[in-house]
Structure formats: structure tokens, C-alpha cells
């Protein structure tokens, strides 16, 4: 088996992974970037709205305000010291990316523009038209090309973190082009694998967002935290789930129910369409249940009305929105309202780590959406996550470099032995074992339907218990999965089943804490526990893998520094 030894191995080539790679390279480390797709395909590319930071003097903004908005948005379980670090670093990271070529939209005087966004009390969201994630990802990917210390291993699918003597010493991955397993030795390993939206049937996420890093970390003994908080973005296109950016509301769009009302006046009167995402998604579902939704061929929907913005403004500020609505739902927003409904979009939860990205497994770090570093709590504010990737990608890359500079390499013999074992396991389980009868795609669909049914915007104990049973039953059936494709070269059924394995493993970490968190907070809305319980649950959930029987769930108090929790009203 080929063995590649580097100082740092980063799994995942999106915004956070690339930022960490550059930070580590600038710190003098030899970095391997292992990604199952070419970096420009990473799902960071699809983000539209923008990235928030206090970058202007003329808006009455302050770091305090950005922090308060974020903490209140999190429904008070953000770790406040992490938020304080974040808001301070945010402007530096966004301007550094500007220096690196990101084509931010500008004011006439050449300074960067900012726009309004949900839950932000002041306009502070920098944007690149309505393709901010695309421009940010391409800017940082192209910048990474001038760092010779970064070696990329594109289309390499990582399957297991190698832990030896309690320390993470690397990762084993499949070179998709040849089907060969390769071992990557690292003094520090950073997971930047993004979210797990493909756990649900209706999601904005790409096919690749299957929580691979989450699965690997979980199996390696790290804690998955706050996984009960997936974010439902209010405006997804019915059918495909394609995202219509919050910026459409930021530029002045209205949400209308079947009575033609801007119904958010009854839910978030002071912010209306720019309230936080969890509250707006709940408002829409509540309106559906009250019979004030539109009924369409692809299900119920509300209207996102942009007509009053005018064609010129839409073409200038929201061209991608217009294109997507026309192509995928046959609506020209200049003349007709866009049908939308809440859609799974982001995972607030992830691998538990501190502000340096350190997990409880020495040598293992996490950054970006796959990390739970304490920024987002129970609900993330729109336009904080692109900034999150840069701020914590940078910090984690630097921290991992510091650790790698002090520690020696792991034992190559252990790395190779475990990697060989993993190759054996996979080949035996999925190639040699032909006795099963379950198809990958169909099982995946059932898992997604189970989660969509009972782990949605509103939850009940009965529903969550049913989901738990569904997951357990599907995990059993997964043992009988059988592949059509046992070939070596670019076997995407193999990657599909490995991705499904990750989804199967992490599904329980979403359901179990949702059952135990008997309150409603952030994006967790329990019909049976409709209020927030700061006495018991001003904390993060932590799930640890056990040998069957679901995760061991513990609770870790959120860190409060300056802002005492208050009732969350807008």
C-alpha cells in the first residue's frame, strides 16, 4: 500500500479545508489535502447570500452587536468566548480573502458593500452578487495553487481515521481513479468535510454532503455535539430543494401566505422577512397547518415575492436567483412570486472541538460546518457560516501546525497495519459478501424518508422514538446491503455505500439528543415541550459511540461570558 507522510493531513477541500491548508502552509508545514471531489466541487460553492463581519464604519455596527446578534440567534447556547473571537477575526479574514482576489460587490467609492441578512441587527453581510460561496471558494482554491507546500490528493475518499496509542496519526483513503487504498500519515489531521444534509430527503445540500468526517470522527471516539440542530432554511424550491438565498429577502423580498398576507407580522414583527431562519421556518409550517399555505403539485408552499424590487435590481443583485427560479420551477421572479418551502440546509452540530479546532482525540482537529466549535448553538445566523469557515479554518490550521511542530510522527507500522485492515474490512464486507439483498440507493432513500418524516421542523416524542426505531431497523438492514459493482476503477457504488455507512452511523446522533433535549430551543421545536428550559438545557449535547444500543449522550454547559440568556423575541 502506498504510504504518504505529511505534517498535516486535511480531509475535505472546501472553504474551511482550503483556508486551513493555507494557514498550515504559511506556518511552514507540509500539507496534504485529501478530498473525495476536486476542491471546486465542494459544496461551499453553492452558498449564495454572503459572509458577515463588521467591515464598515458608517452602519453603526460594532463587534459587540455582531456578537450579541450571533448569541441571541443561537438561542443562547453559543460559547460566548468563541463568538467574541469570531466577530473580532471576521473582518480580517474577509478582507484577506478580498486581497486574495474575491470579487466582493462594491460601493461607488470602492469599499466593500454590505447587505441586510436574517437576524443581523445591522447590515454587515459582504457579498459577491448572489454567488458569494462560489466566488469565495474559487478565490481561495486558486490562491491555494501558489503554495507549493500544499499537495492535493483529489478524488481520494477517506474512510477511516487511524488512531494509535490514543492519538490520531493519519487517515486511510481510496484513490478513486484506481481503486487502491492509500495510507496518509500525519502529525495532525484536520476534518473539514462539511455537513450531512443528505440524511434528509428534502435538502439544499449536494449529493456529496453525507457527513463522512462526522462518521469517521464518531467511530474514532470523538464526540458529535448538537447534532439535534439541523437548520431548516425557509426558502427552498419545492421538488428539488434548491436554495433560494436569504439575500432575496435581504434585498426586500416578501413572504406571502395564501391570503396574500405578509404573515411574519404575527411571528417576528420587528424583523419580518429578516428574522432568524428557525423562527421563519416554523412560522411557515405553522401557517401550512392553519390552512394558509398554497397547495401545489410538489407539495405545500408559500410565495416569495420579488416583483416590487424591479427587473434592474433583480438582475444586478439576484441574477442567480432569477436563473434558478426560471430553470427549476419555471417562474420568472420579475413577473411572478417564487414558490418556496422550508428545507434542510445546514448542520449546527458537528465534531465537538474548542476554539482551536481541537477534538478530544489528540491530533484530531475539525473546522467548518463539520465542526461544533461553539459558534452557532441552536441556530446559525445566515451569512455567519462562510465567515466561520475562514475564521476557524485559519485558526485550526495554525493550531494544528503548532501541534505538529512539537510532536513527532506516528508509527508507520501502526498506520500501515490499520490501513491494511480497513482495506480488508471494506473488500470483505462489500465486495466478497454477495449474500445480501438490499440496494444502496433504496436504503438511502428510506433513511432519508424516515428522517424527513419525524426529525423535521416540529418534533414530538412519539415521532422521534419512531425515527429511532426506523434508524435501528435500517442499520440492521444495512448489514444486508449488496453491491452490483465490485470493480476497482472509479467505483461510485462503493463510495455510495461508504457514504451511506456514515449516514447510518450518524443518524442516531441526531435523534437521540433530540429525544433527550426536552425543550424547544433554536431549530429544535418540540410540540410536547414548547418552551426553552435554561435550567436543564443551557448546554451542548455530546454523543459518544457505543457498541450498539445507540450513543451515550452527555451534556456540556454552554460558556457564558458577558450576555445572560433572555427570552428570544424579535
Amino acid at each position: 500500500m502506498d504510504v504518504f507522510n505529511h505534517d498535516i493531513v486535511i480531509v475535505g477541500g472546501g472553504l474551511a479545508g482550503l483556508r486551513a491548508a493555507i494557514a498550515s502552509a504559511q506556518a511552514g508545514m507540509d500539507v496534504a489535502l485529501v478530498s473525495k471531489v476536486y476542491p471546486m466541487r465542494s459544496h461551499s460553492v453553492s452558498a449564495e447570500g454572503g459572509a458577515a463581519a463588521v467591515v464598515r464604519d458608517d452602519t453603526g455596527d460594532s463587534l459587540e452587536l455582531h456578537a450579541l446578534d450571533t448569541i441571541k440567534g443561537s438561542d443562547f447556547i453559543a460559547d460566548q468566548h468563541v463568538v467574541e473571537y469570531f466577530v473580532e477575526e471576521a473582518p480580517k479574514e474577509l478582507i484577506q480573502l478580498e486581497h486574495w482576489g474575491c470579487p466582493w460587490s462594491r460601493e461607488p467609492d470602492g469599499t466593500v458593500s454590505v447587505r441586510a441578512f436574517g437576524g443581523m441587527s445591522v447590515n454587515r453581510t459582504m457579498f459577491a452578487a448572489d454567488k458569494s460561496g462560489f466566488h469565495m471558494l474559487h478565490a481561495i482554491f486558486q490562491t491555494s495553487l501558489r503554495f507549493p507546500k500544499i499537495t492535493r490528493y483529489d478524488e481520494h475518499f477517506a474512510t477511516k481515521l487511524i488512531v494509535d496509542d490514543g492519538r490520531c496519526i493519519g487517515v486511510v483513503a481510496i484513490d478513486l481513479r484506481t481503486g487502491e487504498f492509500r495510507a496518509f500519515g500525519a502529525k495532525a489531521t484536520i476534518l473539514a468535510t462539511g455537513g450531512c444534509g443528505r440524511l434528509w430527503a428534502f435538502t439544499t445540500n449536494g449529493f456529496i454532503n453525507t457527513g463522512d468526517g462526522l462518521g469517521m470522527a464518531y467511530r474514532a471516539g470523538a464526540a458529535l455535539s448538537d447534532m439535534e440542530f439541523p437548520q431548516y432554511h425557509p426558502t427552498g424550491l419545492p421538488g428539488t430543494g434548491i436554495l433560494i438565498t436569504e439575500a432575496a429577502r435581504g434585498e426586500g423580498g416578501y413572504l406571502l401566505n395564501s391570503e396574500g398576507e405578509r404573515f411574519l407580522k404575527d411571528y417576528v414583527p420587528s424583523r419580518m422577512e429578516l428574522g432568524p431562519r428557525d423562527i421563519i421556518s416554523r412560522a411557515i409550517i405553522t401557517e401550512f397547518e392553519a390552512g394558509r399555505g398554497f397547495q401545489g403539485r410538489l407539495g405545500q408552499y408559500m410565495q416569495l415575492d420579488l416583483r416590487h424590487l424591479g427587473e434592474e435590481k433583480i438582475n444586478r443583485k439576484l441574477p442567480f436567483v432569477r436563473e434558478l427560479a426560471e430553470n427549476y420551477i419555471g417562474v420568472d421572479p420579475v413577473h411572478e412570486p417564487i414558490p418556496i418551502r422550508p428545507v434542510e440546509h445546514y448542520m449546527m452540530g458537528g465534531v465537538r472541538c474548542n476554539v482551536d479546532g481541537e477534538t478530544i482525540v489528540p491530533g484530531l482537529y475539525a473546522a467548518g460546518e463539520c465542526a461544533q466549535e461553539g459558534l452557532n448553538g441552536g441556530n446559525r445566523l445566515g451569512s455567519n457560516s462562510l465567515t466561520e469557515c475562514l475564521v476557524f479554518g485559519a485558526r485550526t490550521g495554525t493550531a494544528a501546525a503548532r501541534y505538529a511542530g512539537e510532536i513527532g510522527a506516528g508509527k508507520t507500522s501502526s498506520l500501515e497495519a490499520q490501513s491494511n485492515d480497513e482495506e480488508q474490512r471494506i473488500k470483505t464486507r462489500f465486495f466478497q459478501n454477495q449474500s445480501g439483498n438490499e440496494r444502496v440507493g433504496l436504503l438511502r432513500g428510506e433513511l432519508q424518508q424516515a428522517m424527513e418524516r419525524n426529525v423535521g421542523v416540529f418534533r414530538t416524542r412519539e415521532g422521534l422514538l419512531a425515527a429511532q426505531e426506523d434508524v435501528q431497523e435500517l442499520q440492521e438492514r444495512f448489514k444486508k446491503v449488496k453491491l452490483d459493482d465490485t470493480s476497482a476503477v472509479f467505483n461510485t457504488e462503493l463510495t455510495g455505500v461508504l457514504e451511506l455507512e456514515n449516514l447510518m452511523d450518524i443518524a442516531e446522533t441526531v435523534v437521540a439528543p433530540a429525544i433527550l433535549r426536552e425543550e424547544s430551543r433554536g431549530s429544535q421545536a418540540r410540540r410536547d415541550f414548547p418552551t426553552r428550559d435554561d435550567q436543564k438545557f443551557l448546554a451542548h449535547s455530546l454523543c459518544y459511540k457505543t457498541d450498539g444500543g445507540g450513543p451515550r449522550v452527555e451534556w456540556q454547559e454552554a460558556v457564558i461570558t458577558k450576555w445572560e440568556p433572555v427570552e428570544r423575541k424579535y
Binding site: F4, L145, P148, I150, T151, R152, Y153, D154, D175, R177, T178, G179, E180, A488, V489
Partner: protein
């Protein structure tokens, strides 16, 4: 910088450009026609230069029907080439003297107008200049 894949272990199926590729798409064929017009233009010039000395001895050599027909066809091709060229100039030339770039259509229109004006001028000279025959 990215790692080399061990291509030799599993070679990919190489690409072979099919001959007659330009027959497969209308736009490719039009491209070939456009390129072919250069051949006609060159051929006309060569023949014209070859016939020039003969004018002294046989003034009607350039009035032969075949030559006139060939010249007309060559003229059509050259006009097509010039037309497509001017059309492309709209995107090729980019000037932003102030806040907005000069619109492509304006550039094309200006070039066409100048082209036509110059052509008319040359035709006028040719038609009125005494040629002595």
C-alpha cells in the same frame, strides 16, 4: 500542486478526434466555410495578379463570364468573412473610457459604417477615374 495518479497502472481510454468532425455540427461547418473563404480570397488575388500583365495585350480578359462569376462568388465569400469578423469585434474590443464599457453593438455598428463608407469611396474613385479604355 497535486499528486500524480499512477496512470500506468490503469490507463484511461484515449480520445480520438473523429475525421469529419466538422460535419457533425452546423456551427462547425459554418466555421469551416468561414475559414475556406480565406482560400477563395487568396485565390482571387493570385489569379488577378496573374491576369494583370495580360490586360495590356487583351483588355477583355477580365470580362470573361467565368472570371466575372468567380469574382462574384469570391466577393460573396469575402463579404461573409468580413461580416462575421465585424460581428465578433463587438466582444473582442473592450474599451471602458469612463464608467461603462462601450457597448459591443456600437463598436460593430461603427466599424460597419466606416467599412461601408470607405468601400463606397473606393468604388466612387474606381468608377470615375479615367482608365483609358
Amino acid at each position: 500542486m497535486h499528486s500524480p495518479h499512477p496512470v500506468s497502472r490503469v490507463p484511461s481510454y484515449p480520445w480520438h478526434m473523429p475525421s469529419g468532425w466538422w460535419l457533425k455540427k452546423r456551427t462547425y461547418m459554418l466555421y469551416m466555410v468561414r475559414e475556406l473563404t480565406a482560400v477563395f480570397a487568396a485565390l482571387w488575388v493570385v489569379l488577378f495578379l496573374a491576369m494583370l500583365p495580360q490586360l495590356k495585350t487583351d483588355p477583355s480578359v477580365m470580362r470573361s463570364p467565368i472570371w466575372i462569376l468567380f469574382s462574384l462568388i469570391a466577393l460573396l465569400f469575402v463579404l461573409y468573412h468580413a461580416f462575421t469578423w465585424f460581428n465578433l469585434m463587438g466582444t473582442v474590443l473592450y474599451f471602458r473610457p469612463g464608467k461603462a464599457p462601450i457597448p459591443g453593438k456600437l463598436i460593430i455598428a461603427t466599424m460597419m459604417v466606416v467599412w461601408i463608407a470607405v468601400s463606397l469611396f473606393i468604388i466612387a474613385i474606381l468608377m470615375t477615374a479615367p482608365l483609358g479604355y
